[in-house]
Each structure stands twice: as structure tokens, then as C-alpha cells.
Symmetry: C2
Subunit: 293 residues, 2 copies
């Protein structure tokens, strides 16, 4: 991690980037004309070679990473897959991922699962199969790192702080947030992180994934399939998400706000090197919502 000591984000949110938000004129509770910044939401149709796979609603940044990550997390792209090109057409709102060899996704498309987490087209059966025999590397997680990450991420200028109504997912190492993705769908944010890991060949073994979303079965499964042994959220849990985390040896920390958190899986891998009493509460202004995910 030496090369990281001076680095924080490799990719951080760019809330001022043109095209991600729009100012809409409205009327507030006092009847006053008001301008509200709202996030954009546009369709992006993902193709794998000649086949249309899905249309995602996204804020539109990193279409290439979203496509790669979505296909990777759906099991339509294997890690050893040779990607020969990723072509984004802004006008057509399409992104085409080209591989050296055709993949076997057709039959997968016949099984669809609607999860609790914005995952149209998720092939849940395959995702579960992908977990068979999977055990995540034993990563010790310092609570001091979790507190540091939480504080850094919540104070990072973001679309959320500027416009709200958006989810964030952050790939972290130690106390360093590395890649912070946001999107209207929290699974888009996770998939963009997965796309970055796939594109850069980055291992999840020594990483922690932070999400603003809830710790549902699908979020836990995606984290496990990305090879990341620890998942942290300010939001709550579902029972199945907890069960799966316990099965695959994933450390699951939720409801993390200020000094408080609850660990419902892998608590034995936590290194409690921080004194919660010395952790500041979140300043109201930067305090996030999102317990609903």
C-alpha cells in the first residue's frame, strides 16, 4: 500500500461536470419560486457483441465501466474474457462490448430475477451458482479504517450532497477511498466499480466496499463475486443478505453512522483499534440519509 499513502481517490465524484445535474425551477412550501438541482437520468442500452442485453437508466458518466461491470456481475463476462473493444455512442445512447469469443449468455437471459435492488436482467440463479464453493480471503478490518473511510466519504463533494436522490459505492483499501462511483441506481454504482476493477485487473482481496445502499442479498452477492471480503453500509440489512455473508465469509457492517455500527457477519475479523467514544458524530450538514437504500 506504500504507493497509496499519498493518494486518496483514483476516481472521485465530479458533481460540477456538465450534464450530470440540471437546475429545475419550482415552487417551495412558502410559495417561493425556487431552483432545485436534480440529477439527470438517461437510458443506456448495453450490447454484448451483436446482442442487445439491457437498457439501464444512468446518470451517464462512465458508460464503458457500467457496461463492463454489469456484464461481469451478471456472469456474462468472465475475468479471463478477452474484451476487444468497448464502443460508446452518445447519440444512440448505446455501448457495445466486443469480445474475442461469443459468450453463452443467451440461455441466461431466459432466467430473470427482479431483486430488491434495481437489477433488471439480473440472473440470480447464476449469481448464486457463482457463489458455490466461493470462500473470500480472510481480511482483517480495522475499525479505525472504517471510521476514517466513513468520515472521508461523507465529506467528499458529491452529486448526493449537491442534488440528492442518488446512490454511491466506494472501493476502498485500508483507510483510502480509491474509486467513488455514484448513480441513480445503486447497482449501477456497484457495477461501475466492478467495471473499473475488471478493466484495470484490480483484485478485490484486500479491499473494502462501502455502499450507501442497503445490504440486500444481491448487494452481498455482487460484493462476493467481486472478490471483496468486506462490505460496509450506512444502511440496514435484509435477513438473506446476512445469511449469504455468513456463508461466504464476508464481513458485513451496517448502520454505520458516526460512532455507531452493527456487524452481523465476520465480527471476529474486526480489529477494534478505535475508541468509538472518541469518534465524532456526523455534522448534520454532511450527514447522509439512505437507511432505506
Amino acid at each position: 500500500m506504500a504507493q497509496l499513502t499519498e493518494i486518496d481517490y483514483l476516481i472521485a465524484p465530479d458533481p460540477d461536470r456538465a450534464g450530470l445535474t440540471r437546475a429545475v425551477t419550482g415552487v417551495d412550501h412558502d410559495g417561493q419560486i425556487t431552483e432545485t438541482a436534480v440529477v439527470e437520468e438517461r437510458p443506456l442500452t448495453i450490447f454484448l457483441n451483436r446482442r442487445e442485453i439491457v437498457t439501464a437508466m444512468t446518470i451517464g458518466d462512465y458508460p464503458d465501466l457500467l457496461a463492463l461491470g454489469f456484464l461481469r456481475n451478471q456472469g456474462m463476462l468472465q475475468d479471463d474474457e478477452q474484451v476487444t473493444g468497448v464502443d460508446f455512442d452518445e447519440e444512440l445512447e448505446t455501448v457495445v462490448v466486443r469480445t474475442a469469443t461469443e459468450t453463452d449468455y443467451e440461455d441466461k437471459l431466459n432466467r430473470k430475477t427482479r431483486t430488491s435492488g434495481c437489477a433488471v436482467g439480473t440472473v440470480f440463479g447464476d449469481m448464486m451458482e457463482g457463489l458455490a464453493g466461493l470462500t473470500l480471503p480472510e481480511l482483517q478490518v480495522r475499525t479505525s479504517d472504517l471510521y476514517a473511510l466513513s468520515a472521508k466519504i461523507n465529506r467528499t463533494p458529491s452529486l448526493y450532497l449537491q442534488a440528492g436522490a442518488i446512490h454511491g459505492t466506494v472501493l476502498c483499501q485500508g483507510d483510502h477511498p480509491l474509486v467513488y462511483m455514484e448513480d441513480v441506481g445503486r447497482h449501477n454504482a456497484v457495477d461501475k466499480v466492478a467495471g473499473w476493477m475488471f478493466k484495470t485487473g484490480t483484485s478485490g482481496a484486500d479491499k473494502v466496499l462501502y455502499t450507501t445502499g442497503r445490504l440486500t442479498s444481491e448487494m452481498v452477492i455482487k460484493c462476493a463475486l467481486m472478490g471483496i471480503p468486506a462490505l460496509v453500509s450506512r444502511s440496514g440489512f435484509t435477513a438473506w443478505g446476512v445469511e449469504i455473508a455468513q456463508q461466504v465469509g464476508l464481513t458485513l457492517v451496517g448502520r454505520m453512522k458516526g460512532r455507531r455500527f452493527v456487524c452481523l457477519a465476520g465480527a471476529e475479523r474486526l480489529i477494534r483499534d478505535a475508541n468509538p467514544a472518541q469518534v465524532a458524530d456526523e455534522p448534520a450538514k454532511s450527514a447522509r440519509k439512505g437507511a432505506r437504500g
Copy 2:
């Protein structure tokens, strides 16, 4: 509405109902063993006649209403459709909706859209087509009713207040919350309301829909397709959601918390009969999160 003056909920959350939450033992920030109530999340596979349509992740209450509402909101069930049976099998985790005549959903299944709102299998194209030429009835909305609804709904015992990590949608009339559905996926909650409306033949024309989720394009489209002319949320907006609301004449109120709200569509239909200065702030305890939807 005479018959409603004495009624509040026709269907209210039942947070103590067995099987909706589970107590999970974990460890908190102080290293103390703690019991956390988490919501259940179980698969429900929806069939239309002999065809498997989708598997939803749901808390598992009202499988019949979820199935009817999902199919209705996907345009796979028309209002005049004759439903001959809805059979739920708890062991197989399936629900079969039977109609007198076969429907033309097959081709629809070939077009899939991944929205920002948990809508696997959503046929976005069709939903948009469904909006063509649609204009919602002009409903005047009293701000006094909105404040009253907000206060009632936030104080109603719910799975959210008990376990968090869940979304709520409430069908309202005047200042009466009528049907309050919760689910791990906010679109399940909306679909269960749609299923109730379909089953009871209830019109949306004089109703207001309250959701804890964000006002995304899909949420606005579903509300419009349900014939409900006003949509209210504590959460934020997306730009496309606002555009669609303006096109179909839907009154769109967001970021409603305590005395504050923003109206980004149909503000001319608001009757400002309440003095915001006299509206109490939300008590911290019952204050909901969820600006991320």
C-alpha cells in the same frame, strides 16, 4: 368521501406479523452482543397463466396483490382483463395469475429495461407508450392534506420504524392514508398498491400517492399509469421524472419533510390552505431517512 371520514387505513403495515422480520445476533461498535431486527427477503416467482414472468424479491406479504400489480404496471394485464384466479403456493414460492384469455406479453419480454428503480422486467418502452395521449384528471391538492398525510404516515407503526431497510408506498385520499404497503423493493410496494386498486376496481382519479422512494422516471410513469394525478415523496427528483410529470399533468411534490417541500410540476393545482410556519418539524425519532429512495 363521506364513507371515509371515519376511516383511516384500509390496509396498514403489520410490523409484528410473523415472518416479516427476524432477530439477528451481532456485535455493535462497542463490541457488545446485540440483537438486530432485519427484514426478510424471499423470492416470489410470478406466472401469468402457464408462463413464468419474473422472480421478485419480496418480504412476502400480499403475494397476490404484488403479482396483480406487477403484471398490471407492466401492461401485461389490462384493466378489463378477466382474472379467473390468483394461486399462491407458499412452499414453491410461486404465484400464478390466470386470465380468461391469453395475453400478448411474449414480445414484450423481449424488451427489457433496467431502470434506476428496482424494476427487473420492466417493459419501459410499453410503459412510455402507455403514456401517449394520457392526461390525468385535474386534481386540486390541499397542502393541509399533504402535511396531515405526512404526519400520519410517519407516525404509523411500520416495518421501517421497526427494522429499517424497507420502502413504503401509501395510497391516499384527501387527508386519509388508505393503503400502506411496504417492501424491500420500493417498486414492489407500489405494485402491491396497484394490485389492490386492480382487485378492488378502485379509481386513482381522486387519490394522492405517497412514496418514500425517489421520484424517478419509472416511479412517475407508474403513478400516471395507475391514473393517480399527484405523487408525493420525502425523497428527491430525477430530471426525467420531472419532465414526464409535467407532460402528463401530474402534480409532483418532493423533499417533503416537516414544513418543507418542493413542487416541480403542477404547482398551480396546489391549494395553499396551510401555514407552513405552523407545521411542526418531524420528531427525530419518527423522522424517516430515505432521501436516496
